[in-house]
């Protein structure tokens, strides 16, 4: 005979089993008097519990509804500024997405335009639009200073800062903006999660059940 299924009897009795487990329990019950007796005890207990009557002499439904209606507090509607704030907060991800797309577009367009102008595709336009190009890349200059003095190193460092870091102002600014947008998005996501949990059920109700 297979192992007893007492651990599953309550779930079986409550109609919570399905699939293979249900078949296993039913097959076992067919041949096991001990488990059948346990199941019968559960059924008798369920029947006995029904002997305890429901509440009686209750207020009529109409009266009950009327009494609840009289006790209902006026639900305060949100003031206009709160509604506007809520809408703004809900639209934040869209705004961030737009900002991200804008920064990316500007970055790509500027890169392509810059490359095109440097290749001479822009003709005379390049001379007017392009800033004076540095004599060489800052990193290249640093490598060439292997035997330079501290003064030379300081000069290169100052120039690097002046140009917005080793990557240049454009790239540094784009990366900083993208990082800021990402940070704002994750903050919004976290606040949304907290807000949602808070609103689902009253905080006090949750606390009561956990302690109960």
């Amino acid at each position: 005979m297979s192992e007893h299924v007492i651990a599953w009897l309550e779930a079986y009795h409550d109609g919570e089993l399905g699939g293979r487990r249900l078949q296993q329990v039913e097959a076992h019950l067919a041949g096991c008097a001990l488990c059948r007796a346990e199941l019968e005890k559960l059924q008798v207990l369920a029947a006995l519990l029904q002997q305890s009557p429901a509440a009686s002499d209750l207020t009529s439904p109409d009266r009950f509804v009327a009494q609840v209606g009289l006790r209902l507090p006026r639900r305060p509607s949100r003031p206009a500024w709160q509604r506007a704030l809520l809408v703004g907060w809900q639209l934040t991800p869209l705004a961030l997405l737009g900002a991200w797309a804008f920064v990316q577009t500007v970055f790509v367009v500027a890169g392509v335009a810059g490359a095109a102008l440097q290749l001479g595709l822009g003709g005379d336009l390049a001379a007017g639009l392009l800033p004076a190009l540095p004599d060489g890349s800052v990193l290249g200059e640093l490598f060439s200073l292997s035997d330079a003095s501290l003064n030379d190193l300081g000069r290169v460092a100052l120039r690097t800062l002046d140009q917005g870091g080793p990557l240049g102002w454009g790239v540094t600014l784009s990366l900083a903006l993208l990082a800021a947008i990402g940070l704002l998005y994750w903050s919004w996501l976290a606040s949304w999660w907290v807000f949602r949990r808070h609103r689902q059920f009253g905080a006090s109700d949750r606390r009561n059940l956990v302690s109960g």
């Binding site: 779930a11 409550d14 008798v44 006995l48 519990l49 305890s52 009950f64 689902q200 009561n208 109960g212």
Partner: protein, 186 residues
């Protein structure tokens, strides 16, 4: 063709939407529909009919206040039961486990006097045994045995895992089998 249950659920959804916008009449209809279940849950929890009605009203008032935050992912009944069980727990704390034995039993009018007395006594014993359970197990037992909620629905209503529902139910039944052993001889 849409079934009657589906239509009733749809109507309830409409009522909830209206009540969320502040329609008191729609909320009144929701109260009418769930009054009996809520009163009985609280009654089984605290054992006093008058107290149960007051607490049920309190539960509906809390439901009205929290209704704008209700999302129909879980059935409205489960949501209201959750509030009702919390109110019942609050009442129990306030009233220090009120057990009004006079309010517990009902006489089945179809039975003779002796049967009725036996019925009263049995009803009292069973009611007392249920009330003697710890509130956390009692509420699970009440929702399962008297309101017929599934494990998933109970877990949803109480905000606890299904495993906890099963263990509390098992504990409650084991305790009841001990306290009602006299009546359980098969």
């Amino acid at each position: 063709m849409r079934s009657q249950t589906a239509t009733a659920k749809e109507t309830e959804r409409d009522l909830i939407a209206l009540a969320q916008q502040g329609d008191r009449q729609a909320f009144g209809e929701l109260v009418r529909r769930h009054r009996e279940g809520v009163v009985n849950v609280v009654y089984r929890m605290c054992g006093d009919a008058n107290l149960a009605e007051d607490a049920a009203q309190e539960a509906f008032i809390r439901a009205w206040q929290h209704l704008p935050g209700y999302r129909p992912r879980s059935p409205f009944r489960n949501w209201v039961y959750r509030i009702a069980t919390n109110v019942a727990l609050d009442v129990l704390r306030r009233e220090k486990e009120v057990v009004d034995l006079d309010a517990l039993p009902l006489v089945n009018p179809g039975k003779g006097p002796e049967d009725a007395v036996e019925g009263i006594e049995l009803g009292q014993r069973v009611g007392q045994a249920v009330l003697a359970l710890p509130p956390a197990s009692r509420v699970v037992l009440v929702l399962r045995e008297y309101e017929g909620l599934s494990y998933r629905e109970i877990a949803d209503a109480l905000g606890i895992p299904i495993g906890t529902v099963m263990s509390r139910l098992n504990y409650a039944r084991t305790r009841l089998r001990q306290s009602l052993a006299l009546y359980l001889e098969v």
